[in-house]
Symmetry: C2
Subunit: 118 residues, 2 copies
Amino acid sequence: MSNQLPIVDDVCCTPLVREPLTEPQAVELARMFKAVGDPVRLRLLSLIGSHDGGEACVCDLIGAFDLTGPTISHHLKVLRESGLITGERRGTWIYYRAEPDTLARLSTLLQPAAAVTA
Amino acid sequence: MSNQLPIVDDVCCTPLVREPLTEPQAVELARMFKAVGDPVRLRLLSLIGSHDGGEACVCDLIGAFDLTGPTISHHLKVLRESGLITGERRGTWIYYRAEPDTLARLSTLLQPAAAVTA
């Protein structure tokens, strides 16, 4: 049985079923999970990540919610400050992308034991 | 270098970079992420998941925190109600395990585009 993990070494971490988190690691990672612990932000992240070309502007997102522009912008700011999305201004709009390194880190962290020891 | 992550097909869902979440999906999943969006609960989950034999009782956990037993028990209840851990009473103690299907579901959901399209 191999314990080798299919992880992206330069961005990743250890699955939590393999090694307990330290307190500073837990504080940092809990902040990211808290950011996606909200249905609107989780849907925003999925809309951005699955959008054509892997990016979306507020103009692409606002129609999916019964929320004002400033509320959407607030949620985007939380996702951005947690490192889950990045934004790039082009012309009138900021285009957002899911941050692959952050997603990979959280995804690997949550791998179950079966995946870790497979 | 392969970015592909192991997916457990029978319990899993679609990575959010592939398909937007529906509102009910987002509500259900956000509840789980909110449960790990707290440093104490995230450390508890990692201590349980990485403990010898993949299970731990409160007696194994309490020493890692400067918190009372009832506070630890409250956080364990939140993890349990969110489907992240299960508990089984044996004698004096309840033994907790990380729930592999829930971890696999959240891990797959967060897979980055590189892992999904690899």
